[in-house]
């Protein structure tokens, strides 16, 4: 059960990628992959981060774990009495933090080094974090493999001898090998067959309960996210547009984008034919997002607004706020939410 204790607090995070043009490779513009994100993550919860391609969810995950550099904002990590600003760490603090936040990747085919056995791949992080003898390392890796429902002996096999689902489980074992507190699952089940997805999701739940972990679950698959998350954040063009408890989001989505997204998903249930809201056009270019509310060119509600209301949507960027007075906050970034 998620607690009220904040473990990660993201404030105004910005991650921009420069676009270089011309002979001298001068910076012509920026891809605003993450454009001002505020997010609090509580210990023990699974936070789902959803959106379509280009929304910035993967970049957000990688910014937290420092695989890409953020250019602005703060990421505060709370550990007991201490607070670390992840964007301003000393080298020792950095090494300590890397242990606490880990990541599971999407592609089972490239997430493991084909030239090394499982033992070979997993022992380097262990060596780095002070596990000195080979025997100790073998024991720890063996335990980890068993924790992901594989056999100890398999640590001496090469990645190509495993199936996609098994490789993904090894990836999870790798993320766990330094005993993290927070695990970022970046599309961790998206590349797997449907029946294997269920196996890996179940495994992730078991591990979370056994070790008291916190998950940030990044995916584009809303059916999976509804099932596995406590809270869900929907992103569009680098910003969070809606953030609520999982059930509340699916029952009463308040942002027009969320509504359209949910209605677009094909449902494997014949008794529910959806009234599909089909969005027009394509996702805009993150280099030059629309003015004001980034969603207004495609927003189905925009068309039915009055002139002054439309002006507001085109000129003013909405903030994430909670107009309802419910016990569980349901935040929306929209001038005229439902």
């Amino acid at each position: 059960m998620p607690s009220q204790e904040k473990v990660l607090h993201i404030k105004g995070l910005k991650t921009y990628f420069p676009v270089r043009k011309g002979l001298l490779r001068t910076v012509a513009a920026h891809v605003k992959a993450v454009d001002g994100v505020d997010l609090e993550i509580y210990r023990g919860e699974t936070l789902g981060l959803v959106g379509e391609s280009g929304c910035g969810k993967t970049t957000l995950g990688k910014s937290i774990i420092q695989l890409v550099g953020a250019v602005g904002g703060q990421i505060l990590y709370h550990e007991g009495e201490q607070t670390f600003d992840l964007l301003n760490l000393s080298p020792e603090e950095f090494k300590h933090i890397r242990q606490k936040i880990q990541i599971v990747f999407q592609d089972p085919h490239s997430s493991l080094n084909p030239a090394f056995t499982v033992f070979g791949s997993l022992q380097d992080p262990l060596k780095l974090y002070g596990v000195k003898t080979k025997a100790e390392r073998r024991k720890i890796i063996g335990d980890l493999l068993e924790a992901v429902n594989m056999r100890r002996e398999q640590m001496d096999n090469y990645p190509h001898e495993f199936s996609g689902g098994q490789r993904q489980r090894i990836g999870i074992a790798r993320a766990l090998c330094v005993n993290p507190e927070i695990v970022i699952c970046d599309e961790a089940v998206s590349a797997l067959d449907v029946s294997i997805q269920a196996q890996v999701l179940q495994l992730l739940q078991e591990i979370k309960e056994a070790r008291g972990l916190t998950y940030i679950f990044i995916t584009h698959d809303l059916s999976v996210v509804e099932y596995i998350s406590d809270r869900v954040a929907v992103m569009y063009l680098g910003k969070i547009v809606e953030l609520a408890e999982s059930e509340a989001l699916y029952r009463t989505p308040r942002h027009p984008y969320t509504q359209a997204l949910l209605s677009a998903i094909p449902i494997a249930d014949l008794d529910r034919k959806s009234d599909r809201i089909v969005l027009e056009g394509d996702v805009p270019n993150p280099v030059s997002p629309p003015s004001g509310c980034a969603f207004h060119p495609r927003c189905p509600k925009f068309k039915s607004l009055s002139e002054p209301e439309k002006q507001r949507c085109m000129g003013e960027s909405p903030q994430l706020s909670d107009a309802t007075q419910l016990t569980q906050p349901h935040l929306v970034s929209c001038h005229y939410p439902n």
Partner: protein, 306 residues
């Protein structure tokens, strides 16, 4: 209208029968070796190269003659029972010179290829992974080195450093590291985006470990092929230089400087056994290495179906 049977059809029928009867041998663990073994040209090439190398190493067992021994009574004798390939201008046994010459030529070829690999791969791996100004700087340096006409560069260095075996290897290494650098860099650029590399970075492993211990083993395939083919190239280069008299000093026999005598038109026309065997040896050896290299490339290329 029925489909015409093709030659593949017969092969397929055989495989299908074997599978249904359960007599198909399970593919042995090393698929790469199997693929190489089935490439007849590569096997032939490998056989020839091995024979030549062994013959050169065990030269005293192959021929009783001393390649340096001058025998003025036996000048320019044609091939006979005594001297299989005859004798040269100052009575030295041609066959012996070729066998012993192989030592130097192969040494130069392989040594330069390995030297160039050492420099090129190290720089390519590190700067390719790091990127940024490291990468740009070395890229420019390699472009300068590679755009110089190689012969001119070699000639200049030979003049400066003087003619000797060691110097030749050094010169070849210094002028030839560019292609392996480029190759390794290209491999690095694609491999560094792989997810396992990102996982290693997420753990905070340092650049050297990631680059040389984890990524480089995956890039070795094309690098090995290039080393093989570079060996052939350097042997040819040495031959060319020695023919001009600018390679290894003339007293040490190499395949190249045996050819040096062919500058003399009289020898070229009338005494074919002095220079032709050496030329043929070089051609066959280089051809054989190329077959092996091509076979290796087909083996390491994951897109080729087998």
């Amino acid at each position: 209208m029925t489909r015409r049977p093709t030659r593949l059809d017969k092969k397929f029928d055989l495989l299908r029968e074997k599978t249904e009867q359960g007599t198909l041998k399970a593919a042995s663990s090393n698929r790469a070796l199997n693929k190489l073994a089935s490439n007849k040209l590569a096997v032939l090439g490998l056989a020839f190269v091995t024979i030549m190398i062994l013959a050169s190493v065990f030269a005293p067992l192959v021929t009783q003659y001393d390649p340096q021994k001058v025998d003025l009574r036996m000048m320019l004798k044609p091939p006979s029972a005594d001297h299989i390939l005859g004798t040269d201008k100052i009575g030295r046994d041609v066959f012996a010179r070729i066998i012993y010459g192989g030592r130097i030529s192969i040494l130069v070829g392989l040594g330069s290829a390995l030297g160039a690999a050492l420099i090129g791969v190290s720089i390519g791996a590190y700067t390719g992974y790091k990127g940024g100004w490291w990468d740009s700087t070395f890229l420019r340096i390699s472009e300068v080195v590679m755009s110089f006409p190689q012969i001119i560069l070699v000639l200049m260095l030979v003049t400066i450093l003087g003619q000797s075996l060691m110097n030749l290897i050094i010169i070849f290494t210094l002028t030839g590291w560019g292609s392996l650098y480029r190759l390794t860099r290209a491999q690095m650029l694609s491999l560094r985006e792989e997810e396992y590399v990102q996982a290693l970075r997420a753990f905070g492993l340092n650049t050297f470990t990631i680059c040389f211990k984890h990524i480089l083993p995956n890039a070795l395939g094309p690098i090995m092929v290039n080393i093989t083919l570079s060996t052939a190239m350097f042997i040819l280069q040495e031959a060319g230089l020695s023919f001009l008299g600018l390679g290894v000093p003339l007293n040490i026999p190499t395949w190249g400087n045996i050819l040096n005598v062919a500058q003399d038109l009289r020898i070229l026309q009338n005494y074919w056994w002095v220079w032709l065997p050496s030329a043929v040896t070089i051609s066959l050896f280089v051809l054989a290495i190329n077959f092996v290299g091509d076979g290796l490339r087909d083996t390491t290329d994951p897109t080729m179906q087998g």
